[in-house]
């Protein structure tokens, strides 16, 4: 189980972005973290993967733990070795490398060449289109292929936990369906733990087991995906409109605290 205990994150020593975030991602489950642009979702993932250090960000309070072992002081490569891998938003392939070289790079923390070979074949079985493109330069793949590649590449490290940052962004619905189908299968067949960040709540809640909603660096709502799907605030908020047709946020709704109590 991956657990964030009341973490605070500060950039550049002064910019407070996460203000006490607690969440857990259960083993073999898909947990989704929802929220609007700028809420702090990506920062949350970087706090887990250790990538904050490289951006002059720091976890100043609280802790990040995987199965009770603290991660928040580790370098990114050490976090990957412990079985957590982050997939960035925006389909960040190694664009000058071929598809297969991308996969090889993804297996950097592993040493058994036979296992790496097998991992590559497994990735090709999961995403057959990547096999066809194996010698192509990643930068020239289509958006959907690139998303498959970055997920496949992350899986090459043989992770226990995968952190997915907005994988649906900018992709055609059919492609998104295929990719989410794969994510669900990985969870079911390999007991992979998934922390899925999305702005598209409907999509995410359709495959998630549990969900959190983040706003302004805080968790404002959490519950089983089923309950969140029924939640009128979520419906309203993610449609972006309330009854009078104006945008609103949880912070503006009087009954949000009541709702929250009811959900938790």
């Amino acid at each position: 189980m991956l657990a964030l205990n009341n973490i605070e994150v500060v950039y550049d020593g002064v910019i407070l972005v996460l203000r006490g975030v607690s969440l857990t991602a259960e083993e073999g489950r898909i947990t989704t973290l929802l929220g609007a642009n700028g809420a702090g979702k990506t920062t949350t993932l970087k706090a887990i993967s250790g990538l904050l250090h490289a951006e002059r960000g720091e976890v100043t309070k609280g802790s990040v733990e995987l199965d009770g072992v603290r991660l928040d002081r580790l370098q990114p490569h050490e976090v990957v070795k412990r079985g957590i891998v982050q997939v960035f938003e925006g389909r960040r392939t190694f664009e000058n490398l071929t598809v297969e070289e991308n996969l090889v790079a993804g297996a950097h923390t592993r040493h058994d060449l036979g296992e790496i070979r097998a991992g590559i074949e497994r990735t090709y079985a999961t995403f057959p289109v990547l096999k066809e493109r194996r010698q192509h330069i990643a930068g020239y793949l289509s958006g959907g292929e690139q998303q498959m590649l970055v997920i496949g590449r992350a899986l090459m490290s043989n992770p226990k936990v995968i952190l997915l940052d907005e994988p649906s962004l900018g992709l055609a619905p059919m492609i998104v369906e295929e990719i989410f189908g794969v994510v669900r299968r990985l969870k079911e067949e390999q007991k992979l733990t998934v922390l899925l960040v999305e702005q598209n709540a409907a999509l995410a809640l359709a495959i998630a087991d549990h969900g959190y909603v983040m706003e302004n660096g805080r968790i404002v709502l959490e519950g089983p995906a089923e309950a969140l799907r029924q939640n009128s605030d979520i419906k309203e908020f993610y449609l972006g409109l309330n009854e009078s047709g104006t945008r609103k946020s949880y912070r503006d709704t009087k009954h949000y605290r009541r709702r929250k109590r009811w959900l938790s």
Partner: protein, 298 residues
């Protein structure tokens, strides 16, 4: 011209190729660092010079050539590691100008320190290959030059293989592509920076020994660093293949200029011809023949 002298041209081209292989090897050191760490190393020529001094110093103390070459390689790897740690690492994130100035400063310091340690006299490195010119059909070449060319080819091949095929090479290119993504994949980026500098040290050592054996060792050797820029601009700052092709072309251009234009104008074209090529390349294809273009997608 009525009777074009093919034989003469052939000699110039062969000589150009042999010198060009050396340029390629030395440029490779530059490219390794540029590609993996985004640092433009203006001290590449001084690296070569320093390596040559180490080898000449060890050989001058009576040890044999192979020991001298080995000590030079080890010394340059240590220097590469050390400089990365002490000078460049603290400059990460400080902007390109700071880093460029640091390497220019480094170049001056290395030139000065080399003279302090080894003295101003020209020293010799003698390769164990004798000095009977070797006949290659139309041309005959000094054995040291031929040995230099062979060594260059071997090392260029090994480094190319390493970069393009080995797992460590793939990781190094991944770091070059995106440091952030490389980190996210569990690649220890710092360690690859150090590795790039160490490898540049190895290449410089080989270059220094071979170049020193051909020209004699004093701090003029550092001038070979000036050839690196036309080579890498022509080939592409971050391309291994580019360094090789660029080196060969610049070597040949230089020799053709020396053979055909210098006698007419009284000399000097050899030195600026490579830069003329560089300027033309910058105007028509600034990323070089094999340099990476930003991949534009719609």
């Amino acid at each position: 011209m009525g009777g074009f002298d093919w034989g003469f041209t052939f000699v110039l081209v062969v000589n150009g190729v042999m010198v060009g292989l050396m340029y390629a090897l030395i440029a490779l050191g530059f490219v390794l660092i540029c590609k993996a760490t985004d640092v433009i190393n203006f001290a590449q020529g001084e690296f070569v010079m320093f390596a040559a001094f180490i080898a000449a110093g060890v050989a001058g103390a009576g040890l044999n050539f192979w020991v001298a070459a080995l000590v030079s390689i080890i010394g340059m790897v240590a220097l590469g590691f050390g400089l990365e740690r002490v000078v460049l690492r603290p400059l990460i994130g400080r902007g390109i100008i700071a880093v460029v100035m640091a390497t220019i400063g480094l170049a001056a310091v290395l030139r000065g320190v080399a003279v302090l340690i080894f003295g101003p006299d020209t020293r010799a490195i003698t390769m164990p290959v004798g000095d009977m010119p070797i006949n290659l059909g139309i041309v005959s070449v000094p054995p040291a030059q031929l040995a230099g060319a062979v060594v260059s080819i071997i090392f260029l091949a090994v480094f190319s293989w390493f970069f393009l095929k080995s797992r460590v090479g793939v990781a190094m290119r991944a770091v070059a592509d995106s440091q952030q993504v490389a980190m996210a994949m569990g690649i220890n980026v710092r360690r690859y920076f150090a590795l790039a500098w160490a490898m540049a040290g190895v290449v410089s050592a080989i270059g220094g020994v071979v170049w020193g054996a051909m020209l004699g060792v004093d701090n003029q050797i550092a001038l070979v660093g000036l050839k690196v820029f036309p080579v890498v601009i022509l080939g592409g700052l971050d391309s291994i293949v580019g360094a090789i092709v660029g080196g060969l072309i610049i070597g040949v251009v230089e020799n053709l200029a020396a053979g055909y234009f210098d006698p007419v104008v009284g000399g000097g074209t050899k030195d600026f011809a490579p830069y003329l090529v560089m300027l033309i390349v910058l105007m028509i294809r600034p990323e070089g023949m094999f340099g990476r273009r930003r991949i534009e997608r719609v």
